[in-house]
């Protein structure tokens, strides 16, 4: 995926993310206002999920980051907590998966930045991309 056409603030955010947190993140799709960013090793809480405790998934980041918030994640397998409770916002084989379906993306979780676990941190500059991974991990832990 050619990233050179991405807006400068988003490009800067991706550079920061790769330099300081996850060096092999990848943009797998760009659709309208969104990129599908593959995070290769998101940490899953051992007390709540079965192994593996590091999994890859996609988070939808707006092209207008940081002036718009991430919205939704896509996984290859459903998130099945150990206690078996159903996870809200789960949409198997949803249209939102289409851009990464060929890469295995099939489970859409329509989580908003200001969702049930309270508002995410306010996003103001490209460095705030670092908070997105923490948000994804926290959201999964508390799902």
């Amino acid at each position: 995926m050619d990233e050179s056409q991405l807006p400068p603030l988003l490009l800067e955010a991706l550079q920061i993310l790769r330099a300081e947190r996850m060096d092999n993140t990848r943009v797998d799709a760009i659709v309208d206002n969104w990129i599908y960013l593959r995070l290769p090793n998101v940490v899953f809480d051992e007390t709540k999920y079965p192994p593996p405790y590091s999994r890859s998934l996609w988070v939808r980041i707006p092209l207008q980051f940081p002036f718009a918030n991430p919205h939704g994640i896509i996984t290859t397998e459903p998130l099945n907590p150990i206690d078996g409770h159903p996870i809200k916002g789960h949409n198997p084989n949803h249209d939102m998966c289409t851009p990464v379906r060929s890469l295995g993306g099939s489970q859409y979780y329509s989580w908003t930045w200001s969702g049930e676990i309270g508002p995410g941190p306010s996003l103001r500059n490209p460095r705030d991309i670092l908070g997105v991974i923490s948000w994804v991990e926290r959201r999964i832990r508390q799902a």
């Binding site: 707006p62 002036f67 918030n69 908003t112 103001r124």
Partner: protein, 520 residues
Amino acid sequence: MGRKKNQTGLTELHWVITKQLQDETLSYLFQQDEQSLFLPERGFLGIIHSGSGVLRRSLFLRKIIPQQEGWVTWTNHGLSFDPLYFSQALDAVSASALGAGLILVHSHPGSGGSINTPPEPSRPDLHHERRLLYHLNHAIPPGSPVAAGIVDRSGAWRVREYHWPRPKTVKEARSRRFGIDSASYTDASAIRIISSDATKVYHYGKPNREVNAKTVDSTLRLWGKGGHQILENLRVGIAGLGGVGSILAEYLARLGVGELVLVDFDEVKDENLNRLVGVRRNEVGKPKIKYAARIAKEASTAASFNVRTFRGSVSEQAGLKYLLDADIIMNAADSAFARQVIDHASYAYAIPVIDGGTTLVVGTRAGEIIGKSQVGEAGPGQPCLECSGAYTQEEATLAREDPTMQGPSSYLRVVGKETKAELPRAPSVISYNGLVAALMVQRLLSTILGFPPRGKSGQQRYYVELGELSWGPTSKCKEGCPKQSWVGLGDSHPVPVGVDPLWKQMREEAEVSARQRRKK
């Protein structure tokens, strides 16, 4: 060297400055107790940015670069700038946002009749500024603006943007065709001075049109011929030509505004007939901008009236560009995405925005309706629309999603419903639209003419269930809000435009039906 229309392909150049920087400029260049006609000239260098609409390019003064004593001196040969000051200026450009350029400003202390008449440059003025700016132009990144300005005591500016062809080869660089004298320049045709409570636009070289006293008799008594000439020269952008926007178009045209820029993507539908004032049944299916333009033309009382239309979304780059030609923007687009885009643009391009809309909430119990109409302003010195509660970043985010994925629309929230597809049409009542439009026009008159004199600013809200009009609580931006720091960044600020999903859906549906028609 030649004076050209505009090297950027645009037909107008505006010089834009905040009232605060205008005051700073005057105190820098003129001492209060100086009276003689033979006073020394003074000067400074400033950081500028540029921003472009469809017709108009604007140059914004962002900062006066501080100077030490002796760096700018008045000599027998004219005003002299020390190389150390240039060095400081180049450092300031490097430290500024990408796209920053420089303006070389000096005073004409002997002139200063009226702010409506710009000072004239002398031949030595043109000669010196061309030489100095040529070297600065080559020391800053390509594409950055370079300009010269002259200011007189009245606060009038003469601003010229310079352009030099950029050599591509060493041979070209040595050629006279790329030397100092290859410069061309564009004169600014207007100056806009923006403060938190007023926008003053001074047009240069534009003849004052005759006011049609018969048709504007009632308002002539209130703000006089001068006020009407200001309205005649005013260009107002209207975003969204629905229930509120179409009324705005008619009100402004009737008041005598000289030019309107209308941007909307929607079409007139049967469901709009109960609130689009003056719409005809045969206009169903036609773009709203066409209907609104017709109404405005028929209503206009200006001696010369022009309306420009663009079918598109203000959330997209193409639609926003049209609004960037406006002296003031009236936002009647009821989308958090559009509000966010216009909010950003109002600071970056120093264009005051007046925003209005109504939220009606239909509850689950019969007859339960709550909601409010709200009117507010944004732009330099004003709290932004986001801090005033007109939208949240999360609402602006969700408005970027495909319509079938969005939650309830911003102007209608039905308790218990999940998706827009399940929702009935949003309630909209012509009387609330009229109220919002009237309050918005009052704000415009206050900002442009000072009528009525501004007492309070901020959000005005009409609570439907209470029947009360009151002021909202926000008088300044929240702590940490960066928008005031964006004033005058122009195209250097990344306004969060994108793809408007509603407009995209409409375009796709139109393509499908066109294909089907072709097949038949």
